[in-house]
């Protein structure tokens, strides 16, 4: 049930979130036959959440613009804490310092999930990737986000890999001249 938290914000039970998300994934699996398409669809849903949630995040935190990927990683880390109350570990930086992994020891979305063998190619938590990608795109960072370890597939943790692709520049609308 939704209840009012101390900060006056509406809170939601983790179980309700896990079950709701499960129902959504199940529905998407029914609607799309190929697992690839399901992954893409979950990613797209996440993207659409991301492009809006970023505004809410920035409004709540009044964060300045991140100067490097380390700061971006910290911001994403605090966003996870804020929205789903888990604290992912940031690590596994590459040499260029523009690609890192978020590791979640506990994944609130998968509390009641067991993947059947025929769905071994499903990325159950692809929604996260879409959210991160969408949110970063709105602050002019194009990134590649993917799940590299999944606690539903034998791993102990869920690992999300985020790689910087390029900085986007604001474009003028296609106009007369």
């Amino acid at each position: 049930m939704a209840r009012q938290g101390r900060s006056g914000e509406t809170k939601m039970e983790g179980e309700l979130l896990a079950l709701t998300y499960g129902a959504v994934v199940a529905r998407v699996l029914k609607d799309y036959e190929r697992t690839d398409e399901v992954n893409a669809q979950l990613d797209k849903m996440g993207y659409n959440i991301g492009v809006r949630i970023i505004d809410d995040f920035l409004a709540k935190n009044r964060h300045g613009r991140c100067k490097n990927m380390q700061e971006t990683a910290e911001a994403i880390q605090s966003a996870f804490k804020q929205y789903i109350n888990v604290q992912p570990q940031v690590g596994k930086w590459n040499d260029a310092q523009n690609s890192f992994s978020l590791t979640l020891d506990t994944n609130p979305l998968t509390s009641f999930v067991e993947l059947p063998a025929e769905l071994s190619r499903l990325y159950y938590c692809q929604l996260f990737c879409g959210i991160i990608r969408g949110a970063l795109e709105m602050v002019q960072l194009e990134t590649k986000v993917q799940i590299v370890a999944d606690n539903l597939k034998g791993s102990n943790v869920t690992e999300i890999r985020i790689s910087f692709v390029k900085k986007l520049v604001d474009a003028l609308p296609v106009g007369e001249d």
């Binding site: 409004a59 002019q140 106009g175």
Partner: protein
Amino acid sequence: MVVYNLYILGKNGQSLFYREWLREQSSNLSRDEEDKLMVGLLFSLSNFAKKMSSSPGTGVFKSFNTSKYKLHYWESPTGIKLVLNTSTDVEPCHDHLSTLYHHIFIQTVVKNPLVPLTEPINSSLFVTKLDAFIKQQTFFQD
């Protein structure tokens, strides 16, 4: 003190919202043309302002004055641009615009999945709240 009008422009310069409270003289341009010219002005001005800055690439312009009016500008990190035109005696209202964005725009537009973020906003809730917010500002009442 007079508040003339407000423009809200999207990430890629599309017009999201326009409202006027008191506009004595029309620019003789269509809504569309005027929005495009406004976007162009802001784009060039902020780019040039950043180039001229002591640490290039940073710093945003907040307002400019002409002898007849004052244009206040605020841009969100996600590229939504708010532009308020007032008479010249109004104090800088950069903060008011950010409050407007955080407390009204986000709450009624961004969090409302039925309002698309790339098309003109058609939400009466947003308009009502915006109108009330502007009308309660001291610079509107005097």
